[in-house]
Structure formats: structure tokens, C-alpha cells
């Protein structure tokens, strides 16, 4: 990215949802996160617990008692 900095008129941001991806993007010269897809916390490794809580919410009639915990996972990614 440094090569084009002198002449560019367009910035580039990265897609990231994890601290690792965010840091990697920054290392490569990303100027921010262009898209943080919150549904990614329900896919891939480490998703078992959030996905379980989400499924519980989807199928049950009761509201949000378990769910503040769910969204604390979202918090973690935002520190970076």
C-alpha cells in the first residue's frame, strides 16, 4: 500500500471481525475496517457457544435473558 500512497485518491479498508484479522489488515496498510459482519461470530471456530445461544433465542418464545452474554463476544472484537 505504501507504493501507491503518493498518488492514490482512494483509500482502502479491510474486512475483519477478529483481532487477528484487524491487526493483519492494519499491517498491510488498511485505513480502517470497511465491513465487520456481525454474523461471523456465529460461524467458524469459537462459534459454538454464541451459535447455541442464538439458536436458543430463535426457537424460544422468551426474550433476551441469556443474550447479553452473547453480545459480549462482539465486544471482544471491537477492542482492536
Amino acid at each position: 500500500m505504501k507504493l501507491v500512497d503518493k498518488t492514490k485518491t482512494l483509500g482502502v479498508r479491510t474486512n475483519a471481525e477478529t483481532p487477528h484479522d484487524a491487526a493483519q489488515g492494519l499491517k498491510f496498510g488498511a485505513e480502517g475496517i470497511g465491513l465487520f459482519r456481525t454474523e461471523h461470530m456465529f460461524y467458524g471456530s469459537g462459534s459454538e457457544q454464541p451459535l447455541f445461544l442464538l439458536r436458543k433465542m430463535i426457537v424460544s418464545k422468551t426474550e433476551k435473558s441469556e443474550n447479553p452474554l452473547l453480545m459480549s463476544y462482539l465486544n471482544l472484537s471491537k477492542r482492536y
Partner: protein
């Protein structure tokens, strides 16, 4: 992100994408949730749409399930508040 902008998209996919559809996985899930397979199936079927790409997802989902939107927005603000309290660089704007 060291003060750089972050664009966060709230829950977008239709809810049926988060539940299994094959019998084995549904059986597993019904046990985990402590509900009958029949009830689980009915709930999953209720999520069916002919064209989910244009259907109940994104902001429309957030209107039907305001608790999801509220929860996610709360998480975003709480994370931002933590960063501010910790003295980290930010560029908050709506």
C-alpha cells in the same frame, strides 16, 4: 483499530441460516435445547421463505426482533465506552 473508522453491519442473514435443516442435526439441537423435535421442526419451518435474499433479514429482521438490534447496539457502545475509558484512540461518529 487505533482510531481508524470501523463500519459494523448488524445481523444480516435470515434466521433460517443459523439453524440446521437435516434430521440428525435437528435431533441433536432439540436435545441441547431441551425441547421436542416436533416443536423445533415447527419453529424452523416457520422461518421458511420463498426468497430469503429479499426477505426477512437485515433492518427488517431488526424491526421484527428489536431485541437483537438493541443487544448489538448496546454491545457496540459498551465496547466503545471501554476503549474511551482506557484512553484509546477513537474516531466516533454515527
Amino acid at each position: 483499530m487505533q482510531g481508524h473508522p470501523v463500519t459494523i453491519r448488524l445481523l444480516d442473514p435470515p434466521l433460517h441460516e443459523f439453524v440446521p435443516h437435516d434430521t440428525e442435526k435437528l435431533k441433536e439441537l432439540s436435545k441441547e435445547l431441551g425441547i421436542s423435535l416436533g416443536l423445533l421442526r415447527r419453529r424452523v419451518l416457520a422461518l421458511h421463505e420463498n426468497n430469503p435474499m429479499l426477505g426477512h433479514r437485515g433492518v427488517r429482521l431488526g424491526i421484527s426482533y428489536p431485541e437483537i438490534t438493541e443487544m448489538q447496539v448496546r454491545a457496540i457502545f459498551e465496547a466503545a465506552a471501554e476503549l474511551i475509558n482506557a484512553g484509546k484512540k477513537h474516531c466516533l461518529r454515527s
